[in-house]
Amino acid sequence: MKAFLLALVMVLVAGPALAGDPTAEELLQRYDEVMGPRTFEAESQMTAWREDGSSRTYELRMLKAEDDKSRIWFKSPASVKGQEILRVGDNLWVYLPSVKRATRMANRESFQGGDFNNADILRVSYSKDYTGKVVASDVPETWALELKAKSQETAYDAIKLWVRKSDGLPVKAQYFGTSGQMLRSAEFSDYVEFEKGYQRPAKVVMRNELVKSRRSEMVVKSLKRGVEVPAQRFTQTDLGR
């Protein structure tokens, strides 16, 4: 009887805590909602820092629609102005104004020569691409998640992700290849409320773990969710228009 009462007390005490812990699926959905809203239009700046300490800065406009569709226009510098990237599901095209045509490209190509790859920018759908589990976190006030790729289509084989306990916003991440080697790591910062009730990190610094002196920084300058865009903007034939 005594043992039964103790067990009951344990359940009553522990119950609320267990019910309050989000599942890995819930955390991943929250990540996707924050970092890749269903539809949005954003103006961003990417700076790639290279081994010699110099940097290259790119201005870009991004449009995202439902069904894994996104499109990017490069606005500066002049050497890449007019370039576009389109993603529809697993398909990725690049439009080069110098050739005046679109060609297919692989998902893992680096994004404009920086340390992000195309999937980092154009495919933010972790709940679709990865299975996750919550693990013990070494960062205070965060949940830690270990993600494993569901297929070989993804840019990384595994990801370790830390999100804030308070609102589920990402804090940092580590990205691993099939060999288990860490390829990149990311730090999320500058949390900005772009719309009422919608906050996200405005700055992501992606470090190249294979070449430590390299890193790229993406700063979101403006972001508007819920934009209505014709389906034609996400077709290969619309590139260059």
Binding site: E51, D52, S54, A78, D90, F234, T235, Q236, T237
Partner: protein
């Protein structure tokens, strides 16, 4: 020209939502070693050339989905050191014969208005480069645009005059294009479209191309089905219908596969008449019999003569890219026909020594080219089997890209190797150093010059032994 005027008026008069000008300034310094003992003339080809290109690409958006755009270049050029042979067959400097070589000229690559009536209906009028095929180095279905340089697929920007109606849907796009041929042009600007002007009426026919294209994104693949109907458009086909097809898809993440094909009956290619070019006497005999020395004998042929390109690209983990393509042309020259071409060229070199103008015949034998942007290298494939290989390694010490292109005639194993190094010195300047080295195949596969017994393969016909090109491009 009337169309151009209307476009300029639209450009100037429309209220601007957004207007911008981009472009570049490029300096090209080239040294080319003339192959003075070759079969093609070199006396109109400078060994040293300096070109300055001032390019502007204005774009003026007059409403959402409606804009006028142009791509215009002014070329200033200087040319020096022309080489040829004297009467004794010794190499000598020759006076400049091509006065135009040093004259500035304007090249209009594009000038068009694009108007989105509704998202599912687009109209376009003007000069525009459009490419539906998926080939990288070469596009068999590209009947519209001037030929591009397979050693640098990024160097061709010249389009064709057209009216286009396009219906883009989510996974399908339907396009209709009507393009009149440019029949007279000066400095890259047209003086006559569709029909010859009365003061130079070479014929009274309409020269045009009509094209229809259906595009579909199916099973993660780009599919294009094309139908062309042409009349004396860039070739001598009259009322000719041809079918085109292209495909491109990634397999196993990193392997891209593409196919592009053009199928039609007959060929507009010129072929030497067998036996008529073996010697001067044979040519005179044929001439006396009223037999043409060169003819388009397959022009009306009923047999299908497809051109098919199959290619793949693979990306390595360090982002290096390897591209391999194979081109088959059913109307390309067979070995015996190439021998006839070499015999013909040998006779032409004798004719030139006698002071005859052989340029037109040369173009017939080797395929003509069109004035437009000056390219690093023009390629008109005349044989049946070609391979194109390109390897590119970017991001060497961040800013350097090394690449090498190879074009090879798979029948005689001659080819052209084009290595290059590009250095993006800043965000707005790129320096590129390129080389072009033609090489011959084995003698056993080459043709023979009847007069000398010398062996000649296709890429030995290029009138330079090698070329070196330094480009400096400043973007603005």
């Amino acid at each position: 020209m009337y169309l151009l005027g209307v476009l300029f008026l639209v450009l100037a008069a429309a209220p601007a939502l957004a207007a911008e000008v981009t472009g570049y300034v490029e300096s090209r310094t080239q040294y080319s070693r003339s192959r003075v003992h070759g079969l093609l003339p070199t006396d109109a080809q400078p060994e040293v050339q300096q070109i300055l290109e001032l390019n502007a690409q204005p774009r003026h958006e007059y409403r959402p989905g409606g804009f006028v755009a142009a791509d215009l270049s002014l070329f200033l050029q200087g040319a020096w050191r022309y080489r040829g042979l004297d009467t004794e067959g010794q190499e000598v400097g020759v006076p400049v014969r091509e006065a135009s070589a040093a004259r500035p000229f304007v090249s209009l690559s594009e000038l068009y208005v694009s108007h989105e009536v509704v998202p599912a209906l687009h109209l376009l009028a003007g000069k525009k480069r459009i490419l539906w095929g998926t080939g990288w180095a070469y596009n068999p279905t590209d009947l519209l645009n001037p030929p591009k340089d397979p050693t640098d697929p990024t160097s061709q920007r010249v389009g064709a005059y057209m009216l286009r109606v396009e219906v883009p849907l989510e996974k399908f796009t339907f396009s209709l294009v009507a393009s009149p041929a440019v029949l007279e042009q000066e400095s890259g600007l047209p003086r006559a479209l569709l029909v010859y002007p009365e003061w130079n009426a070479l014929d009274h026919e309409a020269h045009y191309l009509l094209a229809a294209r259906a595009y579909a994104l199916v099973a993660n693949a780009d599919l294009n089905l094309m139908l062309f109907h042409s009349n004396l458009y860039r070739d001598d086909f009259e009322d000719k219908t041809q079918l085109g097809f292209s495909f491109s898809r990634y397999f196993f993440d990193d392997y891209e596969l593409h196919v592009e094909a053009l199928v039609g009956r007959g060929s507009a290619r010129s072929y030497p008449t067998p036996g008529c070019l073996d010697s001067g006497e044979a040519a005179v005999d044929c001439f006396r019999r009223g037999e043409p020395l060169i003819s388009q004998r397959r022009l009306e042929e009923k047999r299908l003569r497809p051109r098919i390109l199959v290619g793949t690209r693979y990306q390595f983990s360090d982002e290096s890219l390897l591209s391999a393509e194979y081109l088959y042309q059913a109307d390309g020259l067979k070995r015996s026909e190439f021998q006839d071409v070499v015999s013909g060229l040998s006779l032409l070199s004798v004719a030139r020594e006698l002071g005859l103008d052989t340029e037109q015949v040369l173009e017939q034998l080797l395929g003509g080219t069109e004035a437009g942007l000056s390219q690093r290298f023009r390629f008109v494939p005349i044989s049946r089997h070609y391979a194109f290989l390109t390897f590119q390694k970017p991001k060497i010490r961040d800013d350097f890209t090394v690449s090498a292109s190879l074009i090879a005639n798979l029948r005689d194993l001659s080819g052209l190797l084009a290595p290059s190094v590009a250095w993006s010195t800043t965000e707005w300047m790129t320096l590129t150093l390129s080389g072009f080295v033609p090489f011959s195949g084995p003698s056993s596969l080459a043709a023979t010059v009847p007069a000398t017994g010398e062996h000649v393969s296709e890429f030995e016909l290029i009138p330079s032994s090698y070329r070196v090109l330094l480009q400096a491009r400043l973007f603005y």
